[in-house]
């Protein structure tokens, strides 16, 4: 099985809202896949279709080689899920919830459970109502990570965690990856995505707008150049936001046209040159802002 998750052309409407509008998503077995998009773009809806909680209107979804709706129960034995907003039963202790979810999933590794409680610094004796948001998140994380499963589906799992705990989480995911598990990680924390993910998919308004490795995606961005030239240039073909101030020019250029633009600059004689590589933030901002317009 090459792909743990294979989604294509997924549609889902709630009343008049088009939550998913032909979404595609491919997660290869053994990779950590970043799932990004602005608020309300359909990430959680996609995840809930994958969990068989929602039924897609059209399109196809395959999960671990099965149908997420029809084979839900069998597939759920092989995956663990952490929701973005964890609510616990007010009168059950954290430890009870971890054991319950683990057992419902088909078993929990007690050694791993104890080790994770230690690493996440979580007191399992507190009742659900007594936990803070971050601690509720830890309960769900421990329950998921201590399960012996092939696939982890994590919906903004670090929301509410402090930076120390975020670091623990990252270590855990690196270990999960080393032991061959597949992870679908929905997140807004770009540093986390950059550090952990092999590939990412960016979605907007229920559609996939970009997918690939981070290196691939960097190529899609623009580099900012400012140069001091020997002779003034009034126009440079194929660049954006050109500002000419005597012999100084400033502009942005698509990264895959960088070579050709630099050649053009050298015809005018380059006295000074600074170039700013594209940041991931810029990449995401560009995609995220598109949603607002």
């Amino acid at each position: 099985m090459e792909n743990a998750i294979l989604v294509s052309g997924l549609h889902k409407t709630f009343g008049r809202t088009h939550a998913l509008n032909g979404l595609d998503l491919t997660v290869r077995t053994g990779e950590v896949h970043g799932f990004l998009g602005p608020n309300g773009s359909g990430k959680s809806t996609t995840i809930r279709v994958l969990l068989g909680l929602l039924r897609a209107d059209s399109g196809s979804a395959r999960l671990l080689g099965g149908d997420p709706w029809k084979d839900a129960t069998a597939l759920h034995r092989r995956l663990a899920y952490v929701p973005g907003d964890v609510t616990l039963w007010p009168n059950l202790s954290g430890g009870e919830v971890i054991d319950l979810l683990g057992r419902l999933r088909g078993g929990l590794n007690p050694k791993r459970r104890a080790e994770l409680l230690e690493r996440f610094d979580l007191d399992p004796r507190k009742k659900g109502r007594a936990y803070s948001k971050g601690n509720r998140q830890k309960v769900a994380l421990v329950a998921a990570l201590a399960s012996d499963v092939e696939l982890l589906i994590l919906d903004e799992p670090t929301s509410g965690l402090d930076p120390l705990m975020e670091e623990v989480f990252r270590e855990c995911i690196v270990e999960e990856k080393q032991s061959g598990r597949t992870v679908l990680l929905s997140s807004h924390i770009l540093a986390e995505v950059e550090q952990l993910c092999d590939r990412v998919s960016i979605i907007r308004s229920g559609q996939t707008v970009e997918t690939g490795t981070l290196t691939d995606l960097r190529h899609l961005t623009r580099t900012s150049i400012s140069a001091d030239l020997a002779t003034p240039l009034t126009s440079i073909p194929g660049v954006y936001d050109l500002v000419v101030d005597g012999t100084r020019v400033r502009f942005e250029v698509d990264t895959d046209r960088l070579d050709e633009t630099l050649k053009h600059l050298t015809t005018a004689g380059v006295r000074g040159l600074t170039s700013q590589p594209p940041t991931l933030e810029e990449l995401f901002m560009r995609h995220y802002q598109g949603a607002a317009s």
Binding site: F14, R48, L51, G52, L53, L54, R55, A72, T73, A74, H76, R77, L79, Y81, P83, D85, V86, T87, L88, W89, P90, N91, L92, S93, G95, E96, I98, D99, L100, L101, R103, L104, R105, G106, P124, R125, K126, K127, R129, A130, A140
Partner: protein, 519 residues
């Protein structure tokens, strides 16, 4: 109270349908009772006979309260004894809904961080519910012709409501969650009702210990006096003050009663049924214990009826005829069991709606994302919603049988009354089935089950008085329950009710398998 007005407007906006509805319905009830008495007992003699007789029957006084006169208004006032209970119940629920439930959900925090005084959330909730009570009281008076008696009756109902709004407000400060707060306040209400019932049945001063009795000692349409309402006002002010005092001495989201640490793990939570047991056992124990206590109390009061007639054979015969040939005690117990059937249905609905609250608070989602299939998850709750009311009805049968049997020296009453109580189960199960069907097929309308129960309750209470047609009355499952003990039992209606209940439940489960979760 800074910002209190905004909160008042928020509450009015959220309850814009429910609030006018309960105010209107409760205000209309006494007028409906009066109209029916005017028709059933048109002459002064017939009313005097009715008043004299009921005054002599402890079990009726226990259930409704004392009767003070023989005018239509006085008869309706006694009949409104149960309305009093409903007014108090609604006040408790509404106050907790706008205080502890808000805190539970974390919405209070959002509000508390704005320019809102420390007392504002509690103050706004009390203000709205007290104003609603007063409007209800005035409307009650208006519907009955705005006589001094009508106004006194209306205000007596309103003040019982206000006292229990205070009880709800205090309970909301004590516990950390809405469920236990409701349980605590309703236990106080049940106790107040039992004390009044016991006092009125025995004719002792014990009733004075119950604030519900104060609202009846005003004697509307008879020796009218406003004085007992001063006691109600005093107690309500005291309770509201206590709630306010407690609310500034605790943390937002916290309670007064301590919370303990739980176990670090669990070996018993093995599957969906074990989880459902953990979530449902409090309800099961609470309802069963409540039913047992009420059975014990009213079983003791029931036998008094027989004594009241030993010196008056004509009256005994008249009432036997009124009861369709049943003995008076049997009529009383049958009426009581009719009320118990509605209460059991309320429990069934409450237990079944637990599925919806699990879903809408997103607690169902992580469970359904495990290897737990939907139907076993739902069945865990459905089992409690179906079996729980049966257990509760069994307990009221045991309670009635024990005290009544001991009174008349016939322990054979225990199985007889258990049987009579259990005959109510199919009707209650129909409402449970309806709730499951709504949950599975129209999840957003799940809470409509409460409205349907309220309609059944109204049909049973005033349907016959309003002389509604058989077809309308037949819509309520409770119309088809045999009049037990004493009445004839035909299996067919019970079987039909059971089949309907099973079909509705099955339809609900079928729908839940196919629909989206979390909508």
């Amino acid at each position: 109270m800074t910002g209190g007005w905004h909160l008042v407007r928020l509450i009015l906006r959220r309850d814009r349908v429910l609030l006018p509805l309960w105010v209107l319905i409760l205000a209309a009830l006494p007028a409906v009772y009066a109209a029916s008495f005017a028709e059933l007992t048109p002459t002064e003699e017939s009313r005097a006979l009715y008043a004299q007789t009921t005054a002599g029957i402890p079990s009726i006084e226990a259930m409704l309260g004392p009767i003070y006169g023989s005018s239509v208004g006085a008869l309706a006032t006694q009949r409104a004894g149960l309305t009093l209970l409903i007014v108090a119940l609604i006040n408790v629920l509404v106050v907790i809904r706008h205080t502890r439930t808000e805190e539970d959900a974390g919405r209070r925090e959002l509000v508390a961080a704005t320019v809102v005084g420390r007392h504002a959330p509690l103050g706004a909730a009390l203000l709205v519910v007290i104003a609603a009570d007063l409007v209800m009281g005035l409307l009650t008076a208006a519907f009955m012709g705005f006589t001094s008696g009508a106004l006194l009756l209306g205000m007596s109902l309103a003040f019982a409501g206000i006292v229990f709004a205070g009880v709800g407000a205090v309970a909301a400060q004590l516990t950390e969650n809405a469920g236990p707060a409701r349980g605590l306040a309703l236990a106080v209400l049940g106790l107040a009702y039992l004390i009044r019932a016991a006092g009125d049945a025995t004719g002792s001063n014990l009733s004075w210990a119950s604030p519900l009795a104060w609202s009846q000692y005003t004697q509307p349409f008879a020796d009218e006096t406003w004085l007992p309402l001063l006691a109600s006002l005093g107690l309500a002010a005291l309770l509201a003050g206590l709630a306010g005092w407690l609310s500034v001495r605790r943390d937002v989201g916290g309670g007064m009663l301590p919370t303990r640490l739980g176990p670090a793990g669990s070996t018993s939570l093995t599957g969906p049924f074990a989880l459902a047991w953990r979530l449902q056992r409090g309800l099961l124990i609470g309802w069963s214990a409540g039913f047992l206590v009420f059975g014990l109390a009213f079983g003791g009061a029931a036998s008094g009826a027989a004594e009241a007639f030993t010196g008056n054979p004509e009256l005994a015969e008249l009432f036997a005829r009124l009861g369709g040939g049943l003995s008076l005690t049997d009529t009383f117990i049958a009426t009581l069991l009719g009320i118990a059937a509605i209460a059991a249905a309320a429990y069934g609905i409450q237990a079944a709606l637990r599925m919806r609250s699990e879903e809408s608070t997103m607690r169902a989602e992580p469970v359904l994302a495990t290897a737990t299939a939907r139907v076993p998850w739902a069945l865990g709750h459905v089992v409690f919603a179906v079996i729980g009311p049966v257990v509760a009805l069994f307990m009221i049968g045991v309670g009635l049988g024990l005290t009544y049997g001991a009174d008349v020296g016939d322990m054979g009453q225990i199985p007889r009354l258990i049987g009579a109580a259990l005959a109510q189960a199919p009707a209650a199960a129909t409402l449970t089935g309806l709730t499951v069907a709504l949950f599975g097929l129209l999840p957003r309308l799940s809470a409509v089950a409460w409205g349907i129960l309220a309609i059944c309750l109204l049909l049973g209470q005033i349907g016959a008085l309003l002389q509604l047609s058989e077809v309308v009355l037949d819509l309520s499952p409770f119309t088809h329950t045999p009049h037990l003990p004493g009445g004839e039992v035909t299996a067919l209606p019970l079987v039909v009710l059971a089949v309907v209940a099973v079909a509705l439940t099955a339809a609900g489960l079928w729908g839940f398998r196919r629909r989206d979760v979390g909508v």
